[in-house]
């Protein structure tokens, strides 16, 4: 006697009856972003460190006039803007991974991520505003602290 068993056709998709169990490809895109932004950040940050810490007088030369002189050039404005955004997204996503790895209680993870999002928003908004609303020659600023082009 042969018994008849029902076997689904090979490679037919599994039928999901419960709620969906994935949230799309968010983690994949995050993983790719870390690698792409990482390469760009190496260039941006090494350039930043070289001009600010090695060229000229290094850390000794950094003051209001130095920053004003750099941001007079659109190149450094765009440079710093990209560095700010990429580094903040890259860093926040890294810290998010670490929170997921080590904070075991749901409540702890939620609180830490709220703090992380708040820190991200405050830093990115503040930094972006500073780059675009910066005035290299503020009225009433002591002339000896301002960049030389202010008196011209």
């Amino acid at each position: 006697m042969t018994s008849i068993t029902s076997i689904p056709a090979p490679r037919s998709p599994r039928v999901r009856t419960s709620r969906r169990t994935t949230r799309g490809n968010f983690e994949l895109y995050g993983w790719i972003f870390m690698r792409v932004s990482g390469v760009v950040l190496v260039v941006l940050i090494f350039g930043h460190l070289f001009t600010n810490l090695i060229a000229g007088q290094g850390i000794k030369a950094i003051d209001f006039g130095f920053v004003a002189g750099k941001w007079a050039s659109p190149l450094w404005q765009v440079w710093d803007l990209f560095m700010l955004w990429l580094a903040m997204i890259h860093g926040s996503n890294g810290v998010r991974t670490i929170i997921n790895d080590y904070a075991e209680r749901d409540h702890t993870r939620l609180v830490l991520k709220i703090v992380l999002v708040a820190a991200f928003l405050i830093t990115v908004v503040l930094g972006t505003l500073v780059i675009f609303t910066f005035d290299p020659c503020p009225a009433g600023g002591p002339i000896n602290l301002l960049p030389s082009f202010c008196s011209a």
Partner: protein
């Protein structure tokens, strides 16, 4: 394993410095005096050593990050991952050897 731990530790360190660094730079919108006063504190020897540590963290994270990318995307990456860790350490030593004397002279040297 240890390169993975070091990558995490340096990453978190750099992230917290970044938050502080955006705040201190934002003082250029307050006044030239406020910015110069706070940035002046970065020029004392203790902070100077801190900056050396920060740059060391950034340089390691950068080179090891490139290594991670090569392990992930280069077909022979996993095979050479251990060799590449030594390359990372070598590049780290060379980069710091170029940076440290220059920076420490700026921090500890006279006018």
């Amino acid at each position: 394993m240890w390169s993975w731990v070091a990558h995490r530790v340096t990453g978190v360190l750099i992230f917290f410095f970044l938050l502080v660094h955006v705040l201190d730079t934002s003082l250029v919108r307050v006044s030239p005096e406020a910015y110069n006063a706070v940035i002046g504190s970065y020029k004392n020897p203790v902070m100077g050593l801190g900056e050396a540590g920060l740059v060391a963290a950034i340089v390691f994270h950068a080179f090891n990050g490139i290594r991670i990318i090569l392990v992930d995307f280069w077909a022979k990456g996993p095979k050479y991952q251990r060799v590449m860790l030594w390359v990372v350490i070598g590049l780290f030593v060379v980069t710091m050897a170029g940076f440290l004397p220059r920076h420490l002279m700026n921090v500890f040297g006279g006018k």
